[in-house]
């Protein structure tokens, strides 16, 4: 009987695609380890293995998208305890918010975090949209198979969702602001021709504002809208990879390479370091992008910055929330409309235009609710959505602040933004009782608050 030689047992090798390290290394020892950290990690694989230095510049993107993400995460986190504490019933909602404010330990702080986060998110998401517009980042650059227009459209939808989330959120305390905001908001919906009345009934769950209304807005606020926003957010991130990174990457390909590039570096590949290309061609076959000097490992250079921005956002909100109290108006009272009844700041420009746009031609009248509440904002949104297809500027304008070739459209965009800001300021500071104009230094007349 032959005796087989004893073989020392081999250490088991990991299966292909399996990575042994449980958590990524904050300080990877090698490029391989840095790349592994991206591929092996559920969250990090949003990111490319290597990132372009220029795309990470603070002054290019201002990191507004990352701040928005941090705010969304913070809103979900602070929303969960509020969800346990808030009672979505017309009899008890106001009392439960009052309890959160005055009785629950840390309640007022959590509510302030949630409220400030929401206000800031509206502002930051809008600024992010403005940044993308002004830098022409919705434009396709040199890569094949890019569809940045669609990511812009997704972004516009996410901005609208952010606004609708705020709208549904401030109804939940069921105070006077809530009640009259639903009244005005749903009446704007009913100004839509043909289907308006049915839309209002669907939103309210009846013909008057009551328990079904609160239930519907509550469900929209805590499940439907965050769910849709979450899915779109994931898609938004994925599309950035599919489109070859930020538009800044396309801009970078046009810069002269800092040094002579060895020939083999420019050969075509099906994979770019910056993204996965559609089709067979290279995504970006530019030497200046793929040179090791222009890119860094995403771990830790990109992840460190993302972590810094997120920490910074959370810190700012957490500290602000200690000092800025959240208002709670009187309980909802169907019998008395507050005077003046103001929308929150991000809707005040709309309140201004529904005031000013009732058109009279002879005996024929068009309600300002239709013109200012439906047609004008609808037109603005439609313009935003189709703009990438109307923009005829060269691809070279993508990924740069204020390029000459996009001077006119950037100017028009800024003028529209300035008008909206101006109307917001007028609505905030100059509108008094009965929506009359008052200078900020003028005293408002004494008004009876009750009959």
């Amino acid at each position: 009987m032959a005796v087989l030689p004893t073989v020392p047992p081999e250490a088991p090798r990991p299966a292909p695609g399996v990575h042994l390290r449980r958590l990524w290394s904050v300080r990877p020892a090698s490029d391989r380890e840095a790349g592994d950290a991206i591929v092996a990690n559920f969250i990090l694989h949003w990111f490319p293995a290597r990132s372009l230095k220029e795309s990470m510049e603070w002054r290019y993107s201002l990191w507004l998208g990352t701040i928005s993400t941090a705010l969304l995460a913070l809103l979900v986190a602070s929303g969960i305890p509020l969800l346990f504490l808030h009672i979505p019933s017309v009899e008890r909602a106001y009392g439960s918010v009052k309890d959160i404010e005055n009785v629950v330990t840390f309640g007022s702080w959590i509510r302030a975090v949630h409220r400030l986060g929401a206000h800031l998110m509206v502002a930051v998401v809008f600024l992010h949209l403005a940044r993308v517009f002004l830098t022409g980042a919705y434009k396709n650059g040199v890569g094949r198979g890019q569809n940045r227009e669609w990511n812009w459209v997704i972004g516009v939808v996410m901005f609208l969702l952010t606004l609708f989330l705020s709208f549904t959120g401030y109804l939940l305390p069921w105070d006077q602001l809530a009640y009259w905001a639903v009244t005005v908001g749903t009446n704007i919906a009913s100004a839509v021709p043909l289907v308006g009345a049915q839309m209002r009934e669907l939103l309210l769950g009846g013909r008057a504002i009551d328990q079904p209304t609160l239930t519907r807005f509550h469900v929209l606020h805590v499940i439907v809208l965050p769910g849709v926003l979450g899915v779109l957010f994931a898609y938004h991130m994925w599309r950035i990879r599919k489109d070859g990174g930020l538009a800044r990457a396309d801009h970078a390909t046009r810069l002269p390479a800092p040094a002579e590039v060895p020939a083999e570096r420019t050969r075509t590949k099906t994979y770019s370091l910056l993204g996965v290309a559609r089709g067979q061609g290279p995504l970006i076959r530019a030497s200046s992008v793929e040179r090791p000097e222009t890119t860094v490992s995403s771990v830790p250079d990109l992840t460190r910055r993302v972590a810094l921005v997120m920490l910074g956002t959370v810190a700012v909100i957490s500290i602000l929330a200690v000092f800025v109290p959240s208002p709670l108006e009187e309980p909802a009272n169907a019998l008395v409309t507050p005077n003046p009844a103001k929308a929150p700041w991000y809707f005040l420009w709309l309140q201004e235009i529904v005031t000013d746009t009732t058109i009279r031609i002879g005996s024929f009248t068009v309600n300002g609710a239709l013109v200012g509440g439906v047609i004008l904002p609808g037109l603005l949104v439609a313009l935003l959505v189709v703009w990438p297809w109307l923009d005829r500027s060269p691809a070279a304008a993508a990924g740069r602040w204020f390029p000459r070739s996009r001077r006119t459209q950037n100017a028009v965009f800024l003028v529209i933004v300035a008008i909206v800001i101006l109307l917001t300021i007028v609505g905030t500071f100059s509108r008094g009782p009965y929506w009359h104009l008052y200078w900020p230094w003028q005293a408002w007349p004494e008004m009876p608050t009750r009959f």
Binding site: I188, A341, Y434
Partner: protein, 166 residues
């Protein structure tokens, strides 16, 4: 033949799948359209006519102004025709006579909306601000059983409407 059947079954599968998703979607959406209204009734008893004060009385529950001049009554809605806020009545320093619907009417108030600044004269005519229409006039009647004043908040009437009680 077999490939035809395969093709047919594939299309059938896709079709059934889409139809079931669409059906579920429509059913879910339709379930949210209320079939029963638990809203307050639109025909409301307001009280004995003789107990109404001379001039104007505001009824917040019904969002209604009831006017009395002797034994003549009329009622104007307090719902702004712009976006549905409740207008507020402001007494005029001196009453104004105005021909409303063929008859002289003594206007003692005007109406102002706190939401977007619409203004109405005492007969509900819109005169300033974004309001597109005059305030509604609602039908008044006397209940046959107990003689109370009754308003129908779903029945608009001409501005010539006056209810004269016995």
């Amino acid at each position: 033949m077999t490939s035809d059947r395969r093709e047919f079954l594939k299309k059938l599968g896709i079709g059934v799948g889409l139809a079931s998703v669409a059906g579920q979607g429509l059913a879910s959406l339709r379930s949210l359209v209320p079939n029963v209204s638990y809203d307050a009734p639109t025909v409301v008893k307001l009280g004995i006519p003789a107990e109404f004060p001379e001039g104007m009385k505001f009824l917040p529950e019904q969002r209604l102004f009831v006017f009395r001049e002797g034994n003549v009554f009329h009622a104007i809605s307090a719902v702004c025709t712009h976006l549905g806020c409740t207008v507020r009545a402001e007494a005029l320093s001196s009453p104004v006579m105005k021909k409303v619907g063929g008859a002289e009417l003594r206007l003692t108030h005007r109406f102002l909306c706190p939401c977007h600044g619409s203004q109405y004269t005492g007969d509900g005519q819109n005169v300033a601000g974004p309001a597109p229409r005059p305030l509604e006039w609602w039908a008044l009647s006397v209940a046959p059983d107990d003689g109370q004043l009754v308003v129908d908040l779903a029945k608009p009437v001409e501005r010539s409407f006056r209810l004269t009680t016995a």
